[in-house]
Assembly symmetry: C2
Homo-oligomer: 391 residues x 2
């Protein structure tokens, strides 16, 4: 930090105190810039150096317009031309889902690219992160992200996964690659990692710097159910998840048949975030003949409990024999953002205490200043992928 | 058509006439079903057998909510719970962009998947088409659609294309394929053909039925400009399109280097819709050493003129020697929807009259009952692709 920067920070703080007595809004830094994920040519939403989000929309006959971000709603103010404008309090750096509320209607902000998360396709914003270079689109060789459609007999439905193949995959017809199966969280889908997760750019940059082994990444949809009978549908029975069976019996064989994989447990990893961490931990512990590396980002299978985990009973005693677990994993990796809400810190903490008690080696990473959101998971992938397939 | 169907159609017509004298709204068939391109679990928008679009949104404090589709706005009506519902007049079959208007704010309908077109990412709807089977997701081998990022020196910017590779492309390391360069229309982008255009599904189905030669399809972005100087930006000079240079000097060499193409004019085609038809006709006529097949969907380079085309001066006399043009093209193909508005029928008609006068052979196709929209262009691709690389 240089002195000019320090001076500016102090100057700004001083101005705030001077201009706004208690209870009055502070001044707002007028250095807003359009968000990096705006639609082409759209000036709003914008972000300033304080990490506030400002948006603006023409709604001449509306009586209230709100910006709904980070669990809070902020009133926008109408000008004489019918344009409503307003801003949020400072947000965590990284990517956030948000929406607008116009006279009680929750709608996407027409200014942004749309992202699938929180159970809907809707607006998102990027607050520039101090470490954003690791997921930036840079002048390095780029792999491909391919949409792969497949029929699933187990679910009786078409499904889709995205496949990252590293730079050079198409050119070198003989090379074979290890595979990471990488899952999204609840109310998200298979677009999460390739779009807001920026998995491809993170890998392109890591591989260019020779910090990661070139690998294939499969990003599928964690929602998979048995076809329901008419009786079940009439009774509104909650369908049973069969994602584990789909992963083991359909996805992995399809990928090994279609792509140039190294098709053995030594070269196969599985990871996920939140719900995906919970799912993939169950899958890996039930299928240790298939995987040798695991990554749990902001989630463990004891979720949502914060109670002590009993290795004798947890996941049918799969962690009972710590020596055996250590032998079976080349990498057991856990991550958490320092701003994550309950129950994540407690739940993951309880799980880690069990690992320690059992003498099970694992890598633990904390993402500074981020919550249960995508910057945490981008950083997790950066850290995790740099350790994969190296032992 | 069986008798039951005929009876139903007549019955409906009769009821309409009986119940609603001139000037009063007709009854509406209450057989609405959720649109095929709704977000998962979303019940609205819906489409009925008359091809009306009905939508519904919670907006308890709004004073007016409208459905804005096909150039008309339809008022929705509020119920006691604050939910607004209403429907349009019957629409053409196929895909349409649309939006909602809430108290003067134009926003996407939160029920649909979003599509880039009309200069924004926004709502779309599918009116089931009588021939929808040709672009349906079916149990046939599927190719891949891959996102390919590349740095463009000419525009000093990152660009993106989507690449369709046919079934078997990854498995057979020796096979090489002809290539079709396929362009979107104005205010659309490189997502148009792989998303709302369903280019991959049309090709998968054609190839499965052995009606098309397996080929690679490149779907790039038709907007490409020279980097602007500060003076030009200050003067708000309109940038000059350099898409032709980008196509010839950057895109084609990159694709031939990265993919298993048959890299000669005999196995290279170019086509586009509307603005893309205009652009690609100029590109093909300026680069006959590069291409041997052309497709113009709802567009020609004399657009928007409906005047007679003079071959001596049009495109620098490129159509002056009809015998030579016939020799140079394996396929010269034009398409138009029967419901397209001015100036498309007149403009394309004038161009065709010039071709006839010059004795230039071409294939002409009319899509029945469709306008300047995606069902026309899906049908164009079906017809055009089935003729490509066969002579």
């Amino acid at each position: 930090m240089n002195l000019t920067y320090l001076f500016l920070v102090c100057g700004v703080t001083f101005l705030h105190i001077q201009a706004f007595p208690q209870g009055v809004s502070p001044t707002i830094e007028e250095d807003f810039k359009p968000s990096a994920v705006n639609q082409p040519g759209k000036l709003y939403p914008q972000v300033n150096s304080e990490r506030r989000v400002r948006t603006s929309i023409l709604a001449p006959r509306a009586s209230t317009v709100q910006l709904d971000i980070g669990g809070k709603k902020y009133d926008l103010i109408k000008d004489t031309t019918g344009i409503w404008t307003g801003q949020s309090l400072p947000q965590d750096e990284g990517f956030h889902y948000y929406q607008l509320n116009i006279d009680g209607a929750s709608v996407p902000d027409p200014g942004t690219v749309y992202f699938y998360g929180a159970g809907r396709s809707g607006s998102g914003i990027e607050i520039p992160a101090s470490d954003q270079d690791f997921y930036a689109l840079k002048d390095v060789p780029h792999g491909l992200v391919s949409e792969n459609l497949y029929w699933s007999i187990l679910t009786n439905a078409w499904r889709r996964c995205f496949v990252y193949t590293p730079p050079g995959y198409l050119q070198d017809s003989k090379a074979r690659y290890p595979v990471l199966y990488l899952q999204h969280g609840s109310f998200e889908d298979e677009t999460g990692w390739p779009v807001q997760g920026k998995a491809n750019l993170i890998m392109d940059n890591l591989i260019a710097e020779k910090k990661a082994t070139p690998m294939i990444i499969i990003m599928d949809n964690g929602y998979a159910y048995k076809p329901q009978s008419k009786t079940e549908l009439d009774n509104k029975t909650r369908p049973e998840s069969i994602f584990e069976e789909v992963m083991i019996n359909e996805i992995i064989p399809m990928i090994d048949a279609k792509f140039k994989t190294m098709a053995s447990r030594k070269y196969r990893a599985i990871a996920g975030l939140s719900m995906g961490a919970n799912q993939t931990m169950r899958i890996v512990m039930n299928n240790l003949n298939k995987f040798s590396h695991y990554g749990g980002f902001s989630g463990t299978s004891n979720y949502p409990s914060e109670e002590a985990v009993d290795p004798a009973t947890f996941l049918d005693g799969k962690f009972k024999d710590g020596v055996m677990v250590n032998k079976q994993f080349n990498l057991f990796w856990l991550g958490l953002g320092t701003n994550e809400p309950k129950p994540f810190p407690g739940s993951i903490g309880a799980f880690r205490a069990m690992l320690s008690k059992q003498g099970i080696q694992h890598v633990y990473y904390e993402s500074p200043g981020t919550g249960h959101e995508w910057l945490t998971w981008r950083r997790d992938l950066l850290q995790f992928a740099s350790l994969l397939f190296k032992q």
